[in-house]
């Protein structure tokens, strides 16, 4: 807790000092490094691997932005943030962007003065329980003890869900995913609730993953996406269109395997515009023509990033579901590159 107080004070100091700072794009270029806020450790989304390299679905967004702006996907300083410290870190300028399974809500966008640049994962809040409890629906959880990460939207959804269904529960607030796992596995809580993707990721790390079930109810909409500060629209555009480039690349069939071939020029003008062999989209963004190429090369297109980090082949094993392209019945829909 001490940390967030310090950060709170640091924010104030930071605000006082940095009210008239230059554009974030220039800051990042001058620094030669992107400061990207990520989770403290959610397998598949953001966690350091055995070599200390950050890997994951959210991390890939940071790397793509770094590749687009700095031509180096490894020029990223990853700053782990908790549910409580993340907004202060972004508002104070400690990080340039936050890619930390953060739900896009009205008040965060409008009141907290952040700008969500898009959605990279359509999620919803779910419940995980041990199989031994014999629970098959969230409606049977009356009186249960629920472990919950504090400072998240899940805390509010949970209160609403139990209230609407006229059930009682005992919340156990917890700071990080790791502590939540410890309490859940020791049986100090019956249920662990967070976004369904996070539950799948957490369950994948359990020794006996099969002993735990994720209940069918999804009790909320959790559109997760990267965000930046209000007011710096050039920077917001860079992050937004980098994300869109990854999504559009999958739609147009541009993959890390065929990108070199396609960059030379194709029959499809939109692919050409995306990859920079036609038009001046990169210049409009304040970058060079091949910005999107580099972003896609960093980890592949959206589909490749998904399959590599959290897809059905990985231990996390998430299906595309809502996160399929709109052409496949999902919700992913990049505005046109025109």
């Amino acid at each position: 807790m001490k940390k967030s107080v310090i950060l709170g004070v640091a924010t104030i100091a930071g605000l006082a000092a940095g009210a008239a700072a230059a554009g974030t794009v220039d800051d990042v270029k001058a620094r030669g490094k992107l400061n990207c806020g990520v989770a403290t450790g959610v397998p598949g989304f953001a966690s350091p691997d055995a070599n200390g390299e950050w890997q994951g679905f959210d991390v890939a967004v940071c790397r793509a932005v770094a590749a687009a702006v700095l031509d180096d996907p490894s020029a990223v300083e990853f700053i782990p943030t908790t549910g409580k410290t993340r907004f202060t870190a972004l508002a104070s300028g400690e990080i340039d962007m936050l890619a930390r399974n953060t739900t896009w809500t009205f008040s965060r966008d409008v009141d907290l003065k952040f700008e969500f640049v898009g959605i990279n994962y359509y999620d919803g809040q779910g419940f995980m329980v041990p199989k031994a409890l014999g629970v098959s629906s969230a409606k049977e959880l009356d009186g249960a003890t629920v472990c919950i990460q504090t400072g998240t939207t899940t805390e509010l959804n949970l209160a609403d869900f139990f209230r609407i269904n006229n059930m009682s529960y005992e919340p156990v607030p917890i700071e990080t995913n790791a502590e939540a796992q410890q309490q859940y596995l020791a049986g100090a809580c019956d249920v662990y609730t967070t976004d369904a993707s996070g539950l799948a990721a957490t369950r994948a790390t359990f020794e006996n993953a099969g002993d735990h079930v994720i209940l069918p109810e999804i009790i909320s909409k959790e559109p997760l996406g990267p965000l930046v500060r209000h007011g710096d629209h050039e920077w917001g555009d860079v992050v937004r269109w980098t994300l869109n480039a990854l999504i559009a690349a999958e739609e147009m069939g541009v993959t890390s395997a065929n990108i070199d071939e396609m960059s030379a020029g194709t029959d499809n003008p939109e692919v050409n515009r995306l990859l920079g062999s036609e038009g001046t989209l990169g210049e409009m963004l304040g970058l060079d023509a091949t910005w999107a190429q580099r972003a896609i090369k960093a980890g592949g297109n959206y589909g490749e990033v998904f399959a590599k980090n959290i897809g059905e082949e990985t231990p996390i094993g998430l299906a595309r579901g809502l996160n399929a392209q709109w052409t496949d019945g999902g919700l992913l829909y990049s505005p046109p590159f025109r």
Binding site: L15, T150, R163, E170, D190
Partner: protein, 407 residues
């Protein structure tokens, strides 16, 4: 000239320094306010009236997620006070024991106490809190271990106390012919209820103690006039217990036992393991410091006092209780105040174990959900300042009462 005239020089310099300091403070404050406004986040406290929308597990007063942020902060404040008061009491008891025992002539006891003191005061309290919580969670059985025909865990004390890794469930006091509650402050955020049953019990207890003192005074008077002290212990026992038993019977007193229902135990009073871990760790940690203060206080009393007491035929236990400790208290109390303050401030580490104190509610979830960092942190500082100053005031009053009156 004010600066060259030695009569005014010191005052002049002080005035200039004061003006400089005030200018600096004013600059920082206006700068902060202006920048926050430029960012579109002017300082305002209107969010306190909005519904908090989150639940709090340990609440001494009724609260639900529709109540305001102010109410949530109030609930958190009470939780802070609970752990601070419990912590101060146990830390004092443990600290005095350990401090006295550290001076024991028994080699083993003295060494064990030394180890205790050095272990606890040289490791950050956060680690002790986390360790205490981990031990509680990992070593105690989950409620589901109590279920089934062949449970692996059973309740203690004639099936009345359930010790689980979610906390300890103890029987609660219930009154079947309750007198009801008095409500204060209507429906505002600071509303609270006081149980009339509790007031009745306290009044009767107070009356009994008053009567017992009267009886003792009568016995002393009789002893002084006749030389024989009348036997009064059975009268005192009767005065203490008879009215209480009559009152409890009239109110329909009975115990509500915890019972395993569904996922958890229901009924009884639930002491969450977050409270127990925090309370335990804070008490043990602060007790180590108090032990040293007590030891210092005792050693400050000259050896002649002990020898004089022995010469009068007092046994060592009574020497300590009647001669040494009352004098040592005068040395002990001032540093004790700052340890109470430390314990109270350290209780803000509560969120490490998920205990919802005021730092967890106002400075945690409320701050996070509303994004009002400045307002929440300032208010939080104000609250801790108020608590600390109150503790100081009470302890200073006590210190003035016991300190040696010198002429």
């Amino acid at each position: 000239m004010l600066l060259y005239d030695t009569r005014y020089r010191s005052a002049t310099i002080q005035v200039i320094a004061l003006i400089g300091f005030m200018l600096l403070a004013a600059w920082i404050i206006t700068n902060t306010i202006q920048n926050l406004e430029a960012l579109g986040k002017p300082v305002e406290f209107g969010f306190f009236g909005e519904p908090a929308s989150y639940d709090i597990n340990q609440r001494l007063l009724e609260y639900d997620s529709r109540d305001s942020h102010l109410r949530a902060a109030f609930i958190g404040l009470l939780n802070t006070l609970v752990v601070a008061v419990l912590g101060c009491i146990t830390a004092t008891i443990i600290g005095v024991f350990v401090g006295v025992l550290r001076l024991s002539n028994n080699w083993l006891v003295a060494r064990i106490m030394t180890v205790y003191v050095e272990m606890f005061r040289n490791v950050p309290v956060l680690l002790w809190i986390v360790l205490a919580m981990a031990i509680l969670i990992e070593s105690l059985p989950a409620p589901r271990a109590f279920r089934g025909d062949n449970p692996t865990a059973t309740m203690d004390f004639f099936n009345s106390v359930a010790v689980t890794n979610r906390g300890v469930y103890v029987p609660e006091f219930l009154f079947s012919r309750s007198l009801g509650d008095i409500h204060f402050f209507g429906t505002s955020s600071l509303r609270f209820d006081v149980s009339l049953d509790l007031i009745a019990v306290l009044v009767v207890l107070g009356g009994s103690i008053f009567a017992m003192r009267k009886v003792s005074a009568w016995a002393t008077a009789a002893q002084e006039s006749t030389g024989d002290r009348p036997t009064i212990w059975h009268i005192n026992l009767a005065i203490l217990f008879v009215p209480m038993i009559v009152l409890l019977g009239a109110l329909g007193f009975h115990l509500g036992y915890p019972e395993l229902k569904g996922f958890n135990f229901t009924g009884g009073t639930h002491m969450r393991n977050s409270l127990i871990a925090l309370w335990l760790a804070l008490s043990l940690y602060t007790a180590a410091f108090i032990a040293e203060i007590v030891r210092a206080g005792i050693m400050a009393i000259s050896k002649g006092q002990t020898e004089a007491a022995s010469a009068l035929g007092l046994r060592p236990g009574r020497t300590m209780r009647l001669v040494i400790l009352p004098q040592a208290l005068r040395v002990i109390i001032p540093p004790m105040i700052s340890n109470y303050l430390n314990l109270t401030k350290n209780s803000s580490l509560a969120i490490a174990v998920g205990y919802m104190d005021i730092t967890g509610t106002l400075g945690g979830i409320t701050m996070n959900q509303t994004g009002r960092e400045l307002e929440c942190v300032l208010l939080l500082m104000l609250v801790y300042l108020a608590i600390s100053l109150s503790i100081s005031a009470v302890m200073n009053w006590y210190n003035n009462r016991v300190k040696l009156v010198e002429r």
